[in-house]
């Protein structure tokens, strides 16, 4: 397994190089940051002077070589918007993003696991239909709507939770529920179908015929084996929650990566975009690796070479 991990980590290098190159090209061909940095009244000469001062007047391949050289030293350049090094600006957002993503996953898991299992066990019953209904609703409600509604109900009317911002644990509840319900919907459906498939297997019938308690059959024999697709979806959802929770972050003014990245894209803050995409790529790769390792714990038949 150690070999497998080392190999996977080495494979990161070409992937990261490719991603950096694509992002570099995209941010450089889609617009000129200088235009957005100066007032509407600035003249052509003002823009040329700033462009030259920032080194943006050099040919693209020179800029790319300089960029690559700097990245090797862990330097993604300076943010035009903040006037500071880009990498620390991205890294300092990670705790907020992780916090929200974890909390959302907790909400989703705590709800989806029992709902999915009940749905499968009581297949086609009223309860199953009801849970399916909740899942569809959870998926269909746009995050910005859920978020605003939760604020109106729990903050404005009831005064239970703060409206927005990042602070104590109470600030985390509403955004986590907003994000969690959407993830929950998808997970519930997945757990249900994965459980249904397993409940029809021969070994479940054998377990039942041995006279095992239904509880033992479901949790020990069925649920554990149905976890692989659930872990997959959790890993995918988690990484997308780290970088892509912009709408929820905006509604709750949560200072995560999503907000940073969108401000950077809007202001053509190249260094931030490059650093953020790089970090998100590393997180996705690491998360995939972790998922692979969890598979092995869940199913020892899976071997790595």
């Amino acid at each position: 397994m150690g070999k497998y991990i080392v190999k996977s980590l080495l494979q990161m290098i070409p992937v990261l190089f490719l991603i950096s190159t694509i992002v570099f090209i995209l941010v450089h061909v889609t617009g000129d940051p200088v235009a957005l940095m100066l007032p509407e009244t600035a003249t052509e000469a003002d823009r040329a002077a700033l462009s030259q001062a920032l080194g943006l007047d050099k040919p693209l391949y020179i800029q790319f070589l300089v960029f690559l050289g700097n990245v090797l030293h862990g330097d993604f350049g300076r943010s035009f918007h903040y006037g500071q090094s880009a990498l620390p600006l991205v890294l300092e957002r990670l705790p907020a993003s992780f916090e929200l993503a974890f909390a959302a996953m907790v909400v989703a898991t705590v709800l989806a696991v029992p709902l999915g299992i009940i749905s499968a066990v009581k297949r086609n019953s009223f309860l199953d239909l009801f849970i399916s209904g909740i899942s569809v609703l959870g998926k269909a409600m746009p995050n910005f709507w859920t978020g605003i509604m939760l604020i109106l109900l729990f903050s404005v009317m009831l005064g239970v939770f703060p409206v927005s911002g990042r602070g104590g644990a109470e600030h985390l509840v509403l955004p986590a529920v907003t994000l969690g319900t959407a993830v929950m919907a998808q997970m519930t459906r997945l757990i249900r179908s994965s459980m249904l498939e397993i409940l029809n297997q021969d070994y479940i019938r054998t377990a039942r015929s041995k006279g095992l308690l239904e509880r033992v059959v479901i949790f020990t024999h069925a649920f554990r084996n149905g976890l692989i697709p659930v872990v997959t979806i959790m890993s995918l959802q988690f990484t997308s929650l780290i970088g892509g929770t912009l709408i929820t972050e905006t509604v709750f003014s949560w200072p995560g990566l999503g907000q940073l990245l969108v401000t950077a894209v809007n202001t053509h803050d190249m260094a931030i975009v490059q650093a953020a995409v790089f970090i998100i790529a590393i997180l996705v790769i690491l998360s995939n690796l972790l998922t692979d390792l969890i598979y092995r714990i869940l199913d020892p038949r899976i071997k790595y070479s």
């Binding site: 889609t30 617009g31 000129d32 235009a35 957005l36 940095m37 100066l38 007032p39 509407e40 009244t41 600035a42 003249t43 052509e44 823009r47 002077a49 700033l50 030259q52 001062a53 920032l54 918007h81 903040y82 006037g83 500071q84 957002r93 916090e99 974890f102 909390a103 907790v106 898991t109 705590v110 696991v113 910005f144 605003i148 604020i151 109106l152 903050s155 404005v156 005064g159 939770f161 703060p162 409206v163 927005s164 911002g165 990042r166 602070g167 104590g168 644990a169 109470e170 600030h171 554990r224 872990v231 905006t250 003014s253 200072p255 907000q259 940073l260 401000t263 809007n266 714990i297 869940l298």
Partner: protein
């Protein structure tokens, strides 16, 4: 073994739960919003909280180009002179000033002022501040100050600023964003990066903390030269979503919420003692037209028809909920050179517009025009385009995302019409008219009126204010007839104000916490 594996898988789930549980509790953040409708003096501490849509860019006043940033920084730094709430110049770090000759200004500095780190404020700080601003082309504010040739220290509390050529805008430049006085010794010793982390100024409030895209917290500077500040703590929160800002205001999480949308005004007015304050801001909507020979808008009759077809008042009322003032000039009251006869005015006459098009030779099938706007002003552009269609224009409406729009703007690639919101942090007419100088107009409007050119060039260097004002007023009268641009209206800022504070928003959109007072 089997049990161990079961436990292992459950452990994975448990880890998620445990980690999330831990992450929430660590913070030592004040939880203002958790106590709805808290009083201003919670625990005897007077706290003012203001919610903006965007965060500051940085604590480098010279490398910011946005009003929201400066509105925060004015509480930490001081200018040599500043504008009071009626835009009159009053002493700041300079106690008096005089023009020595057309290119030299002398300033007497305030004595006994200290930066937040204890360093005394002297002429060296003024020299450092303006020489950095004038020489470093990377700074976003450099463009306004690059004509500053040098700053001479006469003694510790007297400086002279020398410019390349006469600069009638000197006092305006010293009282706006970019001109905040920086601590020379601190920056030279510790470097700019250290300054950006622990910024130091002379203002009434000191830096406490900045959590990006969340909050900037300032605390009282008890040694402020203007006397002990009114608030113990001033917090600027970043809340991008407008309805969330309003919810924060209603629950008492913030005292002032900027940028209240028309649809939310009633929500605020329905709550006890909360107010909605409207205030004119320095931004005028321009509808800029191409006068290049061969384009339909080169014909003055077509341009007049456009002016007459658009009902500015109707746009203000229907789109902005009344938050705007129609105008026929971009130099609005409060700015040097304003011509009040063109303000709070608009022309609207559909029949005359139709007749003008007929006279211009468009009897059947009106002129085809492309009308470009950025997403920000989409609704306004749509209504204006519909008004043009009503009198016979065939309008191709082009709505562009901000970057695409500025790219087209800078490469001067717009066709007949484009809509642009233009601000003016200099409070001087010259800032509005660079666009119409021959050199800059080339390729964009292609406006070329020698009389206007001569007046603008003369006013740029004219050190006689009365004469200079007349020059700009003349320019405005000519432009109102020539119409290289039609002005729609001057925007207003809409603010929600909580019951515990008195706040009158300013024309320059700055939040001077010392002008905002606690109720009672």
């Amino acid at each position: 073994m089997k049990h161990w594996k079961t436990k292992g898988s459950l452990l994975v789930l448990a880890t998620f739960i445990a980690l999330a549980g831990c992450s929430g509790g660590k913070s030592d953040q004040p939880n203002s919003a958790a106590q709805p409708n808290k009083p201003a003096a919670s625990g005897g501490e007077k706290v003012l909280t203001i919610a903006n849509a965007t965060d500051i860019e940085s604590f480098d006043p010279q490398n910011n180009n946005n009003t929201q940033s400066e509105a925060v920084l004015v509480n930490m730094f001081d200018y040599l002179l500043r504008n009071d709430s009626s835009q009159k110049k009053v002493p700041g770090l300079a106690t008096s000033w005089e023009k020595v000759n057309d290119t030299t200004w002398r300033f007497k500095l305030r004595q006994g002022v200290k930066f937040h780190n204890g360093d005394p404020f002297t002429a060296a700080d003024v020299k450092f501040t303006f020489e950095r601003l004038a020489k470093d082309a990377k700074l976003k504010q450099n463009t306004y100050y690059k004509n500053f040739k040098e700053v001479n220290i006469i003694d510790d509390y007297t400086v002279e600023i020398v410019t390349n050529g006469p600069d009638p805008l000197m006092l305006n430049k010293l009282s706006r964003m970019g001109a905040d006085i920086l601590p020379s010794k601190y920056i030279q010793e510790k470097g700019m990066d250290a300054f950006l982390k622990e910024p130091v100024g002379t203002g009434p409030y000191k830096f406490s903390q900045w959590q990006k895209d969340n909050r900037v917290e300032l605390v009282k500077n008890a040694e402020y030269f203007g006397g002990s500040p009114k608030w113990d703590k001033v917090t600027f929160r970043v809340i991008p979503e407008a309805s969330t800002r309003v919810s924060e205001l209603i629950t008492g999480g913030v005292d002032i919420a900027a940028g209240v949308p028309t649809t939310d005004v009633k929500r605020i007015q329905g709550v006890n003692d909360m107010k909605v304050e409207q205030a004119t801001i320095q931004r005028v909507l321009h509808l800029i037209m191409r006068m290049t020979p061969g384009s339909v808008t080169a014909d003055p009759k077509v341009r007049e028809a456009i002016d007459l077809a658009i009902n500015d008042k109707e746009i203000v009322d229907s789109i902005a909920g009344g938050a705007g003032t129609p105008t026929r000039t971009s130099v609005t009251p409060g700015n040097f050179g304003a011509d009040p006869s063109l303000y709070n005015q608009y022309l609207f006459d559909k029949e005359k517009a139709k007749a003008l098009l007929k006279e211009a030779g468009y009897a059947s099938g009106g002129p085809k025009v492309t009308f470009s706007s950025q997403v920000q002003y989409k609704e306004i552009a749509e209504v204006a385009a519909a008004m043009l269609t009503e009198v016979g224009f065939q309008v191709n409406l082009e709505i562009l995302e901000a970057t695409k729009f500025s790219e087209k703007l800078n490469s001067k690639k717009f066709n007949e019409l484009f809509l642009l919101g233009v601000g003016n942090s200099l409070f001087d007419a010259s800032n509005n008219y660079n666009r119409f100088k021959f050199e800059n107009a080339k390729g964009e409007t292609d406006y070329n009126n020698p009389e206007v050119e001569q007046l603008l060039q003369a006013a740029d260097k004219n050190m006689n204010p009365e004469e200079r004002e007349k020059q700009y007023q003349k320019v405005q009268q000519i432009l109102a007839v020539d119409r290289p641009t039609i002005y729609l209206y001057q925007l207003k800022g809409v603010y929600g104000v909580g019951a515990k504070v008195n706040y009158k928003p300013r024309l320059d959109e700055m939040y001077f916490a010392e002008e905002i007072t606690p109720q009672n």
